[in-house]
Symmetry: none
Subunit: 414 residues, 2 copies
């Protein structure tokens, strides 16, 4: 079943409003087993609406339209759809009651604009709106279903959930579709694609693969269409089991969970505590850890030693050490981590020292060079990285890499 989503509204075209409605509808319907063929965003203009809706119901089975149902003159969707589907607008009792009770609930009086909203196309099915004054319309035309809903997100979502989705589920026999995300770090997209190529080539035809990269992370999405939920889940599970040997330890989690949430759960579950001593990340690791609600169970504190005097005074990095090896060195990062662990009395302490850039790089230590050291009860783990020239990305990648190292240390019971 092919679906097109049409979003109507000038504010979407000029970027004043980000089109979250289409994303939400797309997700809901694809989880139901519909295939979203296209999302078209157009202005509140008659010709644009006629062109887009005609193309949509000619090419696809289901068309969901949002926007342009408000009480003001620039809201023309209802009139244009009436013209397109040769309907007449009539006063609709239930639509009138909806508007009236809503206006009264706000201690207002029905005005002409409100009454206009109670006019409804004679050939459309009525979709009630419990949260606002604009009713939804369900048209059937040339074996296609065309549904028009208001653009206000919470009104649209309530109408989809209460009426549209249940009615669609009755109207169509839908396939079963299961999605799973595999979250991967510590490997670039191109390199990953090369390593898992044999696995990708052997995926069953029912299973589709998508790469969703972001700085420091590649998220793989597996989508399986099958006759039963169990069959789809089995396909996905088999695909994941077959993938693991290729990139096992690079997988940090599944679904939409973030690495700071996964590491947080691991620390909490094992009653472990953590602290950080940050130079180049300037508090970004602490911020990421504490962005998770409940992080006070395992996060104790941090020393952000941006200036070398603080590295010396609070983290016991001797000035000699700084002069001999430089702040961006294995021994300085390790000393920072060990002092940090002692000061905060934690199971783990992460230290970072690097050159985020854009300035401060040298031939020997170019911009993007970062030392990450992690002190733990059995010793210290430290490694050098180069995360490239972009300051923001270098900081983000350092955060993800440090947290992922903690995950590996815990999972490998180090």
């Amino acid at each position: 079943m092919k679906v097109e989503i049409i979003s109507i509204g000038d504010e979407l075209l000029i970027g004043r409003t980000i089109n979250t409605n289409a994303a939400w509808i797309g997700e809901q319907l694809s989880l139901l087993g519909f295939s979203i063929a296209r999302i078209t965003t157009i202005s509140d203009s008659r010709n644009a609406i006629i062109d887009a809706v005609t193309k949509a119901y000619t090419e696809h089975d289901l068309v969901i339209i949002t926007g342009g149902l408000g009480p003001t003159n620039d809201d023309i969707t209802k009139h244009v759809l009436c013209e397109l589907f040769s309907c007449t607008l009539i006063m609709h009792k239930e639509a009138y009651r909806t508007v009236e009770s809503f206006i009264h609930s706000l201690n207002g009086e029905m005005n002409e604009n409100n009454k206009k909203q109670a006019l409804f196309p004679d050939k459309a099915d009525f979709i009630p709106n419990a949260c606002g004054t604009a009713s939804g319309m369900w048209f059937t035309h040339n074996n296609a279903i065309i549904i028009s809903l208001p653009g206000v997100p919470f009104e649209m979502k309530d109408m989809m959930t209460q009426t549209v989705i249940p009615k669609l589920a009755k109207t169509y026999t839908l396939p079963v579709i299961v999605h799973e995300h595999i979250n991967i770090t510590g490997i670039q997209e191109a390199k990953l694609a090369e390593i898992i190529a044999p696995w990708e080539q052997n995926l069953p035809t029912e299973v589709k693969l998508a790469y969703l990269p972001s700085p420091g992370i590649v998220r793989l999405r597996l989508t399986c269409t099958a006759n039963t939920q169990k069959e789809a889940e089995t396909h996905i599970q088999n695909a994941i089991s077959e993938l693991q040997p290729y990139i096992g330890t690079h997988i940090y989690g599944y679904g939409l969970s973030k690495i700071e949430e996964i590491v947080g759960k691991l620390l909490h579950k094992n009653s472990l505590t953590i602290s950080t001593a940050e130079s180049c990340t300037g508090g970004a690791i602490a911020k990421s850890i504490t962005s998770v609600s409940g992080s006070s169970h395992y996060f104790i504190g941090s020393i952000i030693a941006y200036n070398n005097t603080i590295k010396s005074e609070l983290l016991h990095v001797s000035t000699t050490m700084l002069q001999t090896h430089g702040a961006v060195s294995k021994i300085v990062a390790e000393t920072m981590a060990q002092s940090c662990r002692k000061i905060h009395n934690t199971d783990f302490a992460i230290a970072t020292s690097g050159i985020a850039g854009p300035t401060g790089g040298t031939a020997e230590k170019p911009v993007g060079t970062v030392w990450i050291a992690i002190a733990h009860k059995n010793g210290i783990h430290s490694q050098i990285y180069n995360f490239g020239k972009n300051r923001k990305r270098t900081i983000t990648k350092t955060v993800i890499t440090a947290l992922n190292t903690i995950r590996l240390l815990i999972e490998n019971k180090l």
Copy 2:
């Protein structure tokens, strides 16, 4: 000049990714004087791409395509555009160097996928990508310009800003449009609208106003269309001068500058230094300050005292004080700030103590309660706030409010 934006990617259709690229491009181009006619989102499929791009360049003057340029097999945009515009893919020296230097900067080796990315259509103009491996393509066909860019937002934005927008401005004669942003904090949107209503009603017809709110900040955008640059700038400047009396000290800056950049400049210019002692913000203030390149000139360090033992041991907050007043109190925040300033030997020290939530609130100190204290050479400034129930927003608002207070302290020569 009519524009169509085409976003390619299954993840956009199924709602795993919200289409922020189209909103950003739509905003940038409409600010330049283009009219955005349609945004079309389609899957990574040959037929969908051919259908959408053909319709787009037939009906509109300019087509901006994002997505499907990655190194993996599901990225087919380049090949389909070559087919559509009868181009041949040839090894492109500059494209090859771009990929190579990017891979080398990450200590990687060129693999087959990387080499494929250096293939470029013979009839297209080259658009360099300073942030990634996928080059952009500029086609001219049937009097229309068709531009293809990667879907990774920061790569696309950099390429638009560095190359595409300047080249478009040369290619088309566009109306004179001048924009200015007025950045406001410390006042809510509804209240602001009420205060500046008389000013808004007296704006000249050439000047349009838009409210762009985000957590803790309201950005006003003034847009003026005129015959000459000078005329437009005069209109904007007059409007700003007339606005200042209404909300003077709430304006923290103009243009797209961030508050951490403005405060950074102020500190640097006045040779002042800063440190932070953070509890509820968990390093978010330090991260914000150090996100600015060159912040090492004025930022010395931080102590993130998430756990009360650290407040006592490192920031000299006595356990008696914690027991008597609680961690979220004026005296604890002020003691943290004073100790922090002493330890780091800085001109300013910011301390935060609050309940970010969602748990930990009480009747007396509900979720969202935050104390911000700032120690400086003439004493201490402290204030209590309630930033509401949303954890992320509370942290963001605390960061902005703390930095804005530093700005006011410096500007008022306190």
